[in-house]
């Protein structure tokens, strides 16, 4: 049977640091000096009764010609009626009304919000005002704010309250609105939006409508694969869970978070790059981790998230990884320049797609860079004046290629003095790492896409995960999550014995951890210690509550073991028990199908596979097995469609390539069959059966020499294959090497004395002499 589930690897329980940025209060003014009883008009550049249509001085800027384009491009995405900005900037009257503030906030670069220093990372969608535009606005405000010819003004951008990308395929809503109090400090809330469809979907875009955009500074969306936050707050999750940072239980499957699902007011629609959708499975929750600023009046947030589907699973698999040094965070009261640093050596080539620097209120200077193996330094980001309220994800204009061996660095400086206006403590106190807003953090998240990975090598994300976890354990050797993730990364690379050692080490710290017991069982199964594996699965089932995800995973692995051991009756029972207790999912259905197929109950198996595909149209096991059944019964056309779909789900499956070659052969497409077999060989170079199949197709295409070489290679890998010796004999006979051919047929008969074809070939050879 085919793999039912990727080996039990783990997902780092990503510390989701979610606090975001916003279109902060846009144009406001701070009087520059202590106010004196002086004439009130002194610094108003725009007396209200001044003539709005005063003629522009020769060569001076006007709103119509010069200023409106700048405001529309840089400000209007937030500053429009109903937008996240506190007022609109679409008209000349708007610009006049807020001219003093426009001048102040653009000259100080408070607006538009953009933290990275120019020259340290080439980012897309840079919001930093150009020096030219900054100077233009200053000249316009101080020069009298001429209106110019309104007919020559560009049309204002259009915004409406509908979904920007059209009607979503699915809208998720909070269970109940959340009411933000009028006053008080900023609030961090985690609003839970359950995904209630019974099938898996891939998400190509998402649009967030928080309900009251003017109070939402920023939001991060976290995928809670196991609904862990909802389960730990069974009575009050509907109104959201307080907290700035959160950890979610990522389950037992290597499914690393791979996308920055970060929302800020001017970018409500998050459109993923081509080929990089993200996935939602039945039972998942989306968590809207949201940073709220009270506005002075009670605000009701009735948040909703619009999702746009794609039928295509991801063709590219990025990954998020983080440099961090929370273990060093112990900042003395009053220390204005406390420094932490971290580094990580990349085990594979990657493209860096984006970054997300993160600290809380004491962060000040944040640097990230990479040193390449040739010594070259590439800047990733430098923020010299951190502000948690204006944090954001930054995506690079072009991916930054970093070869294997590159060392990533971060260097963060914190200001815990009373001179830091953001300091939440008065007077300052000692501050350590933690999840509360008054604690600190120091993280530099990177979105990387592995590149140049060999086709037959392990998933490069596993190598990244292993390197990352080893580095983390250097810093915090007793961290259980890191141990678990390290072991899982090793298990994912089939390094089962090493994985088992680390799991056992973790179990010494937490002997009753059902998830780790399950994972250890899987690792032991991988080493061939089947009985011990069974014992660990059983222990995990006994320790976990019935419907707990760890218990369900143990049940699944136990059932899968039955399929692998061809103990189909037991496997069927285990899968049926699993489906009775746990949430129905595609993998369990296709697992049951595999057990039935193994028992020869093909029609029942088909029914289970079809159900699995209703739940997840991309379920590999169902697609593969249905395709294989069709191919084995000579139905090349449906087989090809199913197997092509299976390969979209798991392009690295040599079995699917091989079966697809069979289907193509049935459809009279030998060259396509050849391509599939070559792909299969590349993925499984030590699989004798595939070499043998490749030899036959090459022979059919008249490429005898290569066909012979492939058959020889197959027999080197499996010298006891009677069919292979017979096939080699046939190739030799057709090439006129009769003695060698006879020897090969005889060899086949030594292995399998009743091999009918070898007997017939030998007889034919004797007759032809």
């Amino acid at each position: 049977m085919k793999t039912l589930r990727i080996p039990l690897v783990v997902v780092p329980a990503l510390a989701v640091f979610l606090c975001l940025l916003s279109c902060p209060l846009a144009s406001m003014k701070a009087a520059a000096t202590k106010p004196e009883p002086s004439p009130a008009v002194i610094h108003d550049p725009m007396p209200e009764t001044s003539q709005p249509d005063r003629p522009a001085a020769p060569h001076s800027e006007t709103w119509s010609h010069d200023v409106a384009p700048v405001l529309y491009k840089n400000c209007a995405t937030c500053h429009h009626p109903g937008g996240a900005g506190p007022f609109s900037l679409l008209t000349y009257a708007d610009a006049r009304r807020w001219a003093p503030q426009i001048l102040t906030v653009t000259q100080s670069r408070f607006m538009p919000p953009w933290l990275p220093d120019p020259g340290y990372g080439d980012f897309a969608d840079v919001r930093r005002l150009s020096d030219q535009d900054q100077a233009l606005l200053k000249r316009w405000v101080t020069g009298g704010m001429a209106q110019g010819d309104l007919k020559a003004a560009p049309p204002p951008p259009h915004y409406d309250s509908t979904w920007q990308m059209g009607k979503p395929d699915l809208v998720l809503k909070v269970a109940q609105p959340f009411t933000l109090a009028p006053g008080g400090t900023d609030l961090f809330r985690n609003l839970i939006l359950p995904y209630q469809l019974p099938e898996t979907h891939y998400i190509r875009a998402m649009e967030i409508r928080p309900g009251a955009p003017q109070v939402v500074h920023h939001a991060n969306v976290v995928i809670d694969r196991t609904a862990s936050l909802r389960r730990t707050h069974p009575d009050d999750w509907q109104s959201g869970v307080p907290g700035m940072e959160l950890f979610v239980d990522a389950g037992n499957r290597f499914d690393p978070d791979s996308h920055f699902l970060f929302w800020k007011p001017d970018t409500p629609a998050l459109i993923e790059p081509e080929g990089m959708p993200w996935r939602l499975d039945p039972g998942n929750d989306l968590i809207l981790n949201i940073h709220l600023k009270p506005s002075g009046k009670a605000e009701t947030l009735d948040a909703e998230v619009g999702l746009y589907f794609t039928p295509n699973p991801p063709a590219k698999q990025p990954m998020l990884l983080a440099l961090e040094r929370d273990d060093q965070l112990d900042i003395p009261a009053g220390d204005s320049s406390f420094v932490i640093d971290d580094s990580l050596t990349l085990p594979v080539d990657v493209d860096v797609l984006g970054c997300y620097p993160h600290a809380h209120y004491l962060g000040h200077d944040m640097q990230g860079w990479a040193i390449l193996p040739n010594g070259e330094k590439k800047w990733l980001v430098w923020i010299r004046n951190w502000d948690i309220d204006r944090q954001s994800v930054y995506r690079y204009k072009e991916p930054i290629f970093l070869p294997k061996g590159t060392v990533l660095h971060m260097l963060y400086t914190y200001d815990n003095s009373s001179a830091n206006p953001h300091n939440p403590h008065t007077p300052p106190i000692r501050v350590r790492a933690g999840n509360r807003s008054e604690d600190e953090m120091g993280h530099l998240w990177l979105q990387v896409l592995p590149v140049n990975a060999p086709a037959n090598g392990p998933d490069p994300r596993l190598l990244l995960e292993e390197a990352w976890m080893r580095r983390r354990l250097e810093k915090t050797p007793a961290d259980q999550i890191d141990m678990y993730n390290l072991a899982s990364a090793m298990a994912g690379q089939n390094k089962f014995a090493e994985a088992a050692q680390v799991y056992e080490q973790e179990l010494k710290l937490d002997p009753k951890n059902a998830r780790t017991l399950t994972a250890l069982g899987a690792a032991l199964e991988g080493t061939g210690q089947v009985d011990q594996a069974r014992e660990h699965y059983a222990s995990a089932i006994a320790l976990a509550s019935p419907a707990d995800s760890a218990g369900c995973d143990a049940r699944f692995d136990l059932a899968r073991l039955g399929v692998r051991r061809a103990e189909y009756a037991e496997a069927e029972k285990e899968f049926r028990d699993l489906l009775a207790v746990c949430r129905e999912d595609a993998e369990s259905r296709s697992g049951l199908g595999a057990a039935l197929l193994g028992a020869g109950r093909t029609d029942e198996a088909r029914s289970e596979f079809q159900r699995a595909l209703e739940l997840n149209p991309a379920d590999f096991t169902a697609l593969y097995n249905l395709g294989a059944v069709d191919a084995d019964s000579g139905q090349g056309e449906p087989a090809a469609k199913l197997l092509e779909a299976a390969l979209r789900s798991w392009p690295a499956s040599p079995d699917a390539h091989e079966k697809l070659a069979v289907a193509y052969g049935q459809l009279g497409r030998p060259n396509d069959a050849l391509a599939q077999l070559r792909a299969a060989v590349a993925l499984a170079p030590d699989d004798a059966r595939i070499h043998s199949s490749l030899s036959q197709v090459l022979d059919a295409l008249g490429q005898s020499e290569e066909a012979f070489a492939e058959q020889k290679r197959a027999l080197q890998l499996d010298a006891q294959d009677a069919d292979g010796w017979n096939n080699l004999g046939a190739l030799l006979a057709r090439g006129g090497q009769t003695d060698a051919a006879r020897s090969a047929f005889e060899h086949a008969l030594q292995i399998q004395p009743d091999h009918a074809q070898a007997k017939a070939n030998l007889a034919r050879l004797s007759a032809s002499r």
Binding site: L25, M28, K34, P35, A40, E48, Q101, T104, P182, G183
Partner: protein
Amino acid sequence: MPRLKTVLRVLFAALPVVLALFAVASKSQAPADFGTDLHGHPIRELAGAGIRVVVLIFAASDCPISNRYVPEIARLTNEFSRQAVRFWWVYPNSGDTAPIVEKHNRDFSIDGESLLDSKQSLVALAHTTVTPESAVFVVAGGALHEVYHGRIDDRYLDIGKERPQAQHHDLETAISAAIAGKPVPQPGGPPVGCSIVFLQK
């Protein structure tokens, strides 16, 4: 009339303190009226019977910082309302018409007294420049004497420099001092907010 004599003695005893207070206050030139209420009626008097201190809160319905101070002003109003202190919400921008302010007050649950300073006479009287900004007047001799104008507290240090919560409540301190007849501390920093849209002179 022994009782009356006692009262007079108390008043006389208090006089030196009041005089000391006036030493740091400036007598303000009162305009003919103080703007209009939300029904268009002129406001002739800011203090009224028994009022010892008048506090003006300059606000703008479209200014986000001004709006964020609504709960704080409500707290102060509640705290001082029984101490002969009268609060006024003053809207100095011409764009803040009566219907707009009425709606704004409803939206933000502002139930205090509001006036439209359409001639910006109170802006001149109080020397204010931004919203939100406050002014405190002591009532003496039938006149208003400004003893404080400036920020409400130090939550905002500048645009983009905001404390999680205020450390110094300048306005609250000023009102307390004014009520107590003590020298009134002046603001520790500039007011931060939205420029008042000044009328052309």
